[in-house]
Amino acid sequence: MFTNFQRIFKSGWAVFSHSGSSNVATIFIIVITVSLITSLFLLKDVSQFLTSSLQGKVDISVYFKDGAQESDILNVKAELSKIAEVKEVNYVSKDEALSEFIQRHQDNPVLMASLAEVGGNPFLASLKIKASEASQYQAISNFLDQTLSPTYKNLIEKVDYYQRKPVIEKIFSITSGVSRVGVGFSIILAILAILIAFNTIRLAIYNSQEEIKIQRLVGASNWFIRGPFLVQGATSGFFAALICLLIFALICGIFSSKLEVLFPGLNLWNNFTSNFWILLLVQLAVGIGLGVISSTIAIRKYLKV
C-alpha cells in the first residue's frame, strides 16, 4: 500500500515537473485566491482588535478645575455611580494623569521636552465614566447638565464625550462591506483558479496519453492511473499555499511596526505568528482543495479508465 502511494506521488511529481509553464499560471491564480482569503482572515482579526479596543475606551471624561478638592470629586463620583445607566466610574487624580502620560509617551522626546517646558503638572483630575450602552450617553449628559448640584457643577472644567457607537458601527460596516466584497471576489477567483488548474491538468492528461494507455494495458488500478493527476493538482495548491505564506510573512513583518504607529497595540506580526498554524492550515486547505477539485473534474471528464 505504502509502496503504491510512493509510486503515485513519484509519478505525480513527474507529471507536475513536466507541465512546466502551465503550472506557473495555475500556482499564480491559486496564490491570488489564497491571498485574498488570508487577507479576509487577517481583516477579521484587525476589525475585532479595533472594535474591542474602542469598546474598552472611556465614554465620558469629566475634567475638574485645578483647585477642585478630591473629596468633592469623589462625591460627584458617588452621585454618578447611583445612575442606573452608568456602568463604571473611575477617578484619575492629577498625579495619576501625569504619570500615565509619562508612561505612555516616555519614548517621545518631543512630548517629554514640551512637558518639561510647561513645568509642574498641567493635567487635571478627572472622572472616567463608562455607560452600559452607547445609547445611554444622553441620560449621563443630562445628569451632568441638569441634576448635578451647582456647587459641584462649578468645579467642572470640561466634559469630553467619546462617541464610540458610531465609530464602532462604521468599522463594522467597513469591515463587513470589505468582507462581503472579498468573499465575492474569492468565489470568482476560486472558480477562475479551478478553470486554469483544470486546463493544466487536462493538458497533462493529454500529454500522458501513451503512458495511460500502457497503464491500462498492464492492468494498473484506476487509482494508480488517476492518482498522479490528483497529486499534480494538489502539488500546485501546496506550492501556492507556501508562496502565499511567505508573502504574508513578509508583508506582516515589514508593515507591522508602521501599522502599530497608526493603531497602538495592533501588532500584525504577532497576529500572524500567533495564528501561524491556523493560517497555514487555511492556506493549505484552500490551495490543495482548489488543486484537487480541478484535478477531479479534469480526470472525470478526460480520463476514462
Binding site: 500502457i214 494495458l217 498492464v218 492492468g219 494498473a220 488500478s221
Partner: protein
C-alpha cells in the same frame, strides 16, 4: 477459457447520415487453455475489435464475451484491472515508454499492479532472460532494433504471468528474420502453458505455424480450422 458468443459490433458513423460500420457480425468461437490460435484476415476484418472486446475496452452491440465463464462486460470498472492483469497484450507499435530503459519499461508493468520492489527485482531479470534481452536491460527503446523492441513489449506483457497473451500484429513492423524470432518466442511462451492469441495478416507466417486458424472476413468468421492455413 475465452468464449465469444454471437458477437456483433457496430460502430456508429460520425456523420449523421452515413451508414454505421459493422466491425463484427454474429461471431462465435471458443479458445481453450494453452491453445495457440491465430486470427487472420485483411485489415479492417475485425481482429483488433475482438481483442478490445475481450479486454472490455469496447462493449459489443450484441452478444457476450466470457473469460473463464465470467461475462467481461458485466465486470464493474473497479475490477477491470484484475481482468487485464490476467491478459497480456502486445501490439504492432510496441507501445513502449521511450523515456524508460528496457528494464524500467518491464518493471513499470509490475509497479502499476502494486508489486513490491523485491518482486520486481526478482521477476524482471527472469523475464528478460526468457526474451533474451538481459544484455539490453539498460538500453532505451530508441537504441533497440524493431525485433528487440517487440521482445521488450512481450516481456512487459509476460512479466505479471498472464494466462493469455493477445498479440495484435506483433510482426507488422518487422523484417522476416525478426518476424520469425518473435513467433518463436510466442511459441515458447505457449509451450510454458500460456494461451496465445495471435492476430495477423502475414500469410507465410500462418502457413508455417501449423496451429489453429480462425479466418475473419468483413466481420464474419468464414473458417475455423485446427491446423489451418491462410486462405482468403
Amino acid at each position: 477459457m475465452i468464449k465469444f458468443q454471437n458477437i456483433t459490433k457496430i460502430y456508429p458513423n460520425h456523420s449523421p447520415n452515413g451508414p454505421p460500420t459493422i466491425a463484427l457480425q454474429d461471431v462465435s468461437f471458443q479458445i481453450e487453455k494453452k491453445e495457440f490460435v491465430s486470427i487472420v484476415g485483411k485489415s479492417g476484418a475485425g481482429k483488433t475489435t475482438l481483442f478490445k472486446l475481450l479486454l472490455a475496452e469496447e462493449k459489443p452491440t450484441y452478444g457476450r464475451v466470457f473469460f473463464e465463464d465470467v461475462d467481461v462486460h458485466k465486470i464493474p470498472s473497479k475490477k477491470l484491472p484484475e481482468l487485464r492483469q490476467r491478459i497480456g497484450t502486445v501490439f504492432q507499435d510496441y507501445k513502449l515508454l521511450l523515456s524508460k530503459t528496457v528494464y524500467k519499461n518491464i518493471a513499470y508493468a509490475l509497479e502499476a499492479i502494486g508489486a513490491s520492489d523485491k518482486e520486481i527485482a526478482r521477476d524482471v531479470p527472469e523475464v528478460l532472460e526468457i526474451v533474451e534481452l538481459t544484455e539490453r536491460a539498460n538500453n532505451f527503446p530508441i537504441q533497440l532494433s524493431g525485433g528487440e523492441q517487440q521482445r521488450t513489449a512481450i516481456a512487459r506483457a509476460l512479466v505479471h504471468r498472464p494466462e493469455v497473451i493477445l498479440a495484435d500484429e506483433p510482426t507488422g513492423n518487422l523484417d522476416p528474420y525478426h518476424t520469425l524470432d518473435i513467433i518463436r518466442l510466442l511459441l515458447k511462451i505457449n509451450q510454458f502453458g500460456t494461451t496465445v492469441v495471435l492476430a495477423t495478416h502475414n500469410k507465410e507466417l500462418i502457413n508455417i505455424l501449423g496451429k489453429r486458424v480462425i479466418t475473419l472476413d468483413e466481420g464474419k468468421i468464414i473458417r475455423d480450422e485446427e491446423r489451418g492455413r491462410f486462405i482468403l
